[in-house]
């Protein structure tokens, strides 16, 4: 979550779902909360019952829209224009919360003279290297301060040694720490906000072209509807009132997705809605424990707690790594203690001061190793083995065919899942065995399917969408050979260590030296999940559980598996297992589960109080300074040094948390402020700019630059990943419609947990596409008949659901018809159908490496798709008609 991280300091939702009940206005955009987070949606209904305005902005009228006060249909892929339009309204009508903006954001900070905005360069920022297709962000800095590029650092001197100019940027440095890690000395500020290079003025100029007219032309939102949204948001923000934004993957899954969230972050900071009850930005994650899987990451580019994964060719020892990744101010100044404690948790006794605590044992990045790059290395034959644990890429990943072609070129594949999912059987009954592109008898991949235990069959924790860990206890033994992921990983490691026990090869030391002694229990030797949690929490030299990351040491006397989770096992008690009912505590419910960091439920909540530490209003009180006690107190745990007075001002040479003043609520940031303008940490610009989706029927009305210039696309040129012409380019009319993918309440992501269950299947028995009556008439589609949807990648078939919930829009003077595609289906299971993600291309956001599946141009025609090789021929025919070559759509 690079955008929330760079804007506010931590890559997680700033608030929690229950707090939505305190909102006066809730804007749900890029999210279908009622369908995908129905349990949390009760708090939206609670707010509505109290009189809040609920607005749903979405291409489709969904079950969320049905319960909203206002549904605003927009063109998929145009959200930055819509949000930018509101920012422009807020700035030009002076609707921002001035005291908050002046003191709690970087609005007053003055930028370097070298900075050039999209306004100056017709749609790109200064520092664009058109050869490398990457930004050098040194011109995005604050004036008069030395910027240390802790994130997004370019490794140019090695670029020529590596394929395609692999850089540190491509190692997704943008996600590291979730914070820019800007090294700020003392920024020059203009308290009047009038200096032409201060962030506030830059912001004003940047968003001036995001007018209501542009919103109408680009998003297809009528001006009066837009005015209603502006009115509701601004009337419900300020000292007495707060508004919240809710988003999910409808924002992230674009080639400029991180900047969607950035736009909302700027807006919420301007309105003074961050860190306050009923405010915030609620990032709803895709499914259970996705937040957990970025905190203790399954991502290639991060270590636990958002510590960057070291790169192979820079900062190769502990000292230089820490020096590069630390800040002088804020909590990242303590990076060394977090990392050393992590290394102690990994390698225990073997990690000593003398050997850099085994820093050398950590794997090193040599470029981007995201799932999509990995697939290309499989196709190239460089990646020979693959573990799929709870993942079904043959259905769930963009351009699913590419995933299958990659797996077909492996030596071995291990699939652990509840059901025999498509990713385990593509070699015998996948789409390519039908077209002849994969022949079962020729395929050499050895596939191992191992049954997995469900969550009811094992102990463990979920970290939910609001950074809260909740423990689940095993209810029953897993059936047959089914085992937990913990069991599998532990025993796999144990057996590998046995096999290597006599090895003298230095390469095997990192595995042999691992602290791998977990207690096991029961007949199947299930590792004790509680012991793992205790290790994540950490302990001191005497083995006493730690209670706060402030206790972590740089000398190796503490071990901690994930510094932001430190405290989850405080006092030797599993804090995540706490279940004090909501009715017995306040709405913050601090004794239900445990949230990182330090059980704070609303992040940056120092901002709920004014400069003197008093709540901005009684109605919106959350935490406040108790002068008598000399402490912060209130309804939530203060996200601030507990005894730091609001009147504290640091000396010039102060370091770390002490370098932040009593009015710096964003304690992870180098300057303690919310970043309206991001001087470092993002790879595609310090401010959001609207770019069209990779495949779009429209040209960019705002800038000459059509697409995100640094989106990740050139590395994915492949005959099965062809891109389409856009806008006015010849051939773009071959794909005149815009499709968007999504989930239904009744099914779960790629279907592994729902398409095998009769009670769910009967509720949504078949794959369908949603189209408007206008589109049905235009293309001769029949209700509950069949349609074939075609992109430059694939042709799929779906039942047709004709519905007025799909609203035709007027965009750039012409009528746009959109298509809705739930992506749950595949050829296996109790309910089968084509996978919507076959249509999508692999073209990625450069910060998060997330694919664009929420907006793609396509065609639709009546009837079922062709069978066998004819299916491929149809796609090739479309490519020919559109004049598609391997160059198409790859232009910067």
């Amino acid at each position: 979550m690079p955008s929330l991280g760079t804007s506010f300091g931590r890559g997680g939702a700033t608030t929690f779902q229950q707090d939505l009940q305190n909102s006066d206005c809730i804007v749900i955009e890029g999210s279908n909360m009622a369908e995908c987070h129905p349990v949390g949606f009760q708090w939206v209904m609670e707010a509505k019952a109290k009189g809040a305005t609920v607005i749903h902005v979405d291409p489709r009228f969904t079950r969320t829209s049905a319960l909203a006060d206002l549904h605003v249909p927009l063109r998929a892929g145009s959200d930055i224009v819509f949000l930018g339009g509101i920012i422009n309204h807020v700035l030009s009508e002076e609707k921002y919360f001035r005291d908050y903006v002046l003191h709690y954001t970087n609005a007053a900070t003055i930028l370097t003279e070298e900075y050039r905005d999209t306004e100056d360069l017709d749609g790109v920022f200064s520092g664009l290297d058109t050869e490398e297709r990457a930004y050098d962000f040194h011109t995005w800095q604050y004036d008069g301060t030395e910027m240390r590029a802790a994130s997004g650092e370019r490794d140019q001197q090695y670029a020529d040694q590596t394929r395609g100019g692999e850089t540190v940027r491509q190692s997704a440095r943008g996600e590291a720490h979730g914070s820019g890690g800007a090294e700020v000395g003392n920024p020059v500020r203009d308290e009047t906000l009038t200096h032409e290079r201060c962030v506030f003025q830059v912001l004003k100029r940047h968003f001036a072209r995001y007018t209501a007219e542009m919103v109408e032309q680009i998003c297809g939102i009528p001006r009066d509807t837009f005015a209603r949204v502006c009115d509701a948001l601004t009337a419900n923000s300020g000292r007495d009132r707060t508004s919240a934004f809710v988003y999910s993957v409808g924002w992230t899954q674009h080639t400029v997705g991180a900047q969607y969230i950035r736009t909302a972050s700027i807006l919420q900071a301007l309105l003074g809605n961050i860190g306050r009850p009923g405010g915030g930005i609620l990032a709803l994650r895709g499914h259970a424990s996705i937040q957990g899987s970025t905190d203790i990451p399954t991502l290639f580019n991060l270590l636990p707690g958002y510590i960057p994964m070291p790169h192979a060719r820079s900062n190769t020892d502990l000292d230089s790594f820490v020096a590069a990744e630390s800040t002088h101010k804020g909590y990242w100044a303590n990076t060394r203690s977090y990392l050393v404690s992590l290394l102690k948790a990994y390698w225990g006794e073997a990690a000593t001061e003398e050997n850099d605590f085994c820093f050398d044992y950590l794997p090193r990045l040599t470029g981007s190793h995201s799932t999509y790059e990995t697939v290309l290395t499989q196709i190239a034959g460089d990646c020979e083995g693959y573990f799929l644990m709870g993942e079904n890429p043959a259905v769930g990943s963009a351009n699913a065919k590419l995933q299958r072609l990659g797996m077909a070129n492996l030596k071995w594949l291990v699939v652990r899942d509840l059901s025999l999912i498509e990713s385990a059987t593509w070699w015998r009954d996948g789409p390519e065995t039908e077209t002849g592109e994969i022949r079962t008898e020729d395929n050499a991949t050895e596939v191992f399917f191992l049954p997995a235990a469900a969550h009811t069959e094992k102990d463990g924790s979920f970290t939910n969408t609001q950074r809260m860990l909740q423990w689940h206890h095993q209810a029953v033994e897993p059936p047959g050979d089914a085992r937990s992921d913990l069991w599998f990983t532990f025993h796999l490691g144990r057996r590998i260590r046995q096999k290597l026990a006599d090895s003298t090869n230095d390469l095997d030391r990192p595995i042999l030296d691992l602290a791998w002694a977990y207690p096991t229990k029961g007949e199947i030797d299930e590792p004790d999940a509680d012991a793992v949690l205790a290790e994540i929490n950490g302990w001191d030299a005497n083995g006493i559980p730690l209670s706060s990351y402030e206790q972590l040491k740089t000398d190796g006397s503490t071990a901690c598996g994930c510094w932001i989770y430190c405290g989850v096992y405080a006092g030797g008690v599993n804090q995540a297992a706490r279940r004090k009912p909501g009715g017995e505590q306040n709405w913050v419910a601090g004794e239900w589960g445990w949230a990182w960091p330090a059980n704070r439920r609303i992040l940056y909540n120092r901002a709920s109080a004014d400069l003197d530490g008093k709540p901005w209003s009684e109605r919106k009180a959350l935490v406040w300074w108790d002068a008598e006690q000399g402490r912060w107190t209130g309804h939530d745990v203060a996200d601030f040094v507990a005894d730091k007075s609001p009147h504290y001002r640091p000396d010039d040479d102060a370091r770390g948390p002490r370098a932040l003043s009593g009015i710096d609520p964003f304690i992870m940031q180098g300057d303690g402020k919310a970043w309206l303008f991001v001087p470092a940490g993002l790879t595609d610009g310090p401010l959001p700019a609207h770019y069209e989706p990779q495949d779009s029927p429209f040209r960019n009305l705002l800038y000459r630059q059509q697409r995100n210039p640094v989106r990740e696309v050139t590395q994915f040129v492949h005959p099965d990943n062809r891109l389409q012409p856009s806008g006015d380019e010849p051939g773009s009319k071959v794909f005149p419609y815009v499709a968007t993918t999504y989930r239904l309440t009744e099914h779960h992501t790629a279907g592994g947990m729902s398409r095998w269950l009769p009670y769910l299947v009967e509720l949504q028995p078949e794959f369908f596409c949603e189209v408007s009556p206008e589109l049905a008439a235009e293309r001769g589609l029949k209700h509950i008949g069949w349609a074939t949807i075609v992109s430059a990648r694939a042709a799929i078939e779906a039942r047709v659901l004709v519905t007025e919930r799909m609203t035709p829009l007027i965009v750039q003077g012409r009528r746009l018809l959109q298509i809705g595609l739930p992506y749950h289906w595949g050829p296996n299971g109790y309910s089968v159908g084509d996978a919507a993600n076959e249509l999508a291309s692999v073209s990625l956001d450069p910060n998060s490496h997330i694919q664009e599946v929420k907006a793609l141009a396509c065609d639709i025609r009546p009837g079922r798709r062709p069978r066998g090789p004819d299916r491929v021929a149809l796609v090739r025919d479309y490519q020919r008609r559109a004049g598609i070559t391997e160059r198409t759509g790859t232009e910067m």
Partner: protein, 302 residues
């Protein structure tokens, strides 16, 4: 609300229970239903109801189609060309320049969407006067101490009289075993102090379970509040003890006419006129017998 309570017939007492618990029921507030169908799944899971998969119906997101022997909760989805139930929020408008807004052509009614999507979870109504129970020859259908109506699968002989007797078309026979099935209001859960599975699973409290008199009071307040907020379509269905079934044990807050949801507008217990009919039939039979006797007597005398 005392008026309602006074008038309310107590079906459990009428059924002969002495010292019974309060009458329990459902208030389904469709204005907060999000159509998640958790009620359908929870009901099936708890009651071990067989699946009844079919193809895509094309009826919006409703693939269950209606209540039946294998569907005891059913969520209806209705797509309508009607303005959304716009709720005028408690926004402080003091800082807003109304004249400027008027110049822009801002208007709530104009801007309101001309489209809405209604969702409603239907269930057995557990009528005060339950025709299914009246016509059941085996005693399989019975009135519980909670005032609910339950069918016992080990007694039901599959005669099917109850099916046409239900004014709502709720109770239904299973094709494979012929016996009648419907919502029990989770009689087994009620017995141990738990709420029914559907209400337990409902995330937005659209399905509320509790003592019926309390639910009716709550529902009356909710309708009042919604109407005050501008949702003038809001109305209760099945809450009136004076209606044709003596009021429902499971009643609803609807946002449109009952017919829109597939509910009968004016349900009447089908056995209401039964005694009168029998009286008339009896009288007619007597008359016929008398006539025959008379004819015989007359003929005999000839």
């Amino acid at each position: 609300m005392a008026r309602l309570t006074e008038k309310t017939v107590d079906p459990a007492s009428e059924a002969g229970y002495v010292d019974h618990p309060r009458r329990m029921g459902f208030f389904t507030d469709t204005s907060v239903c999000i159509g998640c169908k958790a009620c359908e799944v929870a009901c099936k899971e708890w009651n071990a109801i067989p699946e009844d998969s079919g193809p895509l119906t094309g009826m919006s997101y409703d693939n269950t189609a209606g209540l039946g022997a294998n569907t005891w909760r059913h969520v209806a989805f209705i797509e309508q060309r009607k303005p959304m139930a716009y709720q005028e929020p408690g926004v402080d408008h003091r800082d807003i320049d109304g004249l400027a807004l008027a110049e822009q052509g801002f208007s709530v009614s104009e801007a309101a969407e001309e489209f809405r999507w209604l969702m409603a979870s239907d269930v057995c109504k557990h009528c005060t006067h339950a025709a299914c129970l009246d016509v059941c020859p085996t005693g399989s259908l019975f009135r519980t101490e909670f005032g609910t109506v339950v069918v016992q699968e080990d007694i039901c002989n599959g005669c099917g009289y109850c099916v046409p007797a239900c004014p709502y078309g709720v109770i239904d026979r299973r094709a494979d075993d012929g016996r009648a099935w419907k919502c029990t209001l989770c009689y087994d859960r009620l017995g141990v102090g738990q709420e029914p599975a559907c209400a337990k699973a409902c995330p937005t409290e659209s399905i509320q379970f509790g003592p019926l008199d309390e639910l009716r009071e709550r529902a009356a307040r909710r309708v009042e509040q919604l109407r005050a907020d501008g949702v003038t379509d809001a109305r209760l269905y099945g809450a009136d003890p004076d209606d044709g079934v003596g009021g429902d044990g499971a009643f609803f807050l609807l946002l449109d006419e009952p017919e829109v949801y597939g509910l009968p507008p004016d349900p009447v217990v089908t056995t209401r006129d039964l005694s009168a009919m029998w009286r008339r039939a009896g009288a007619a039979a007597l008359l016929a017998v008398a006539g025959a006797v008379a004819a015989f007597a007359l003929g005999g005398s000839r």
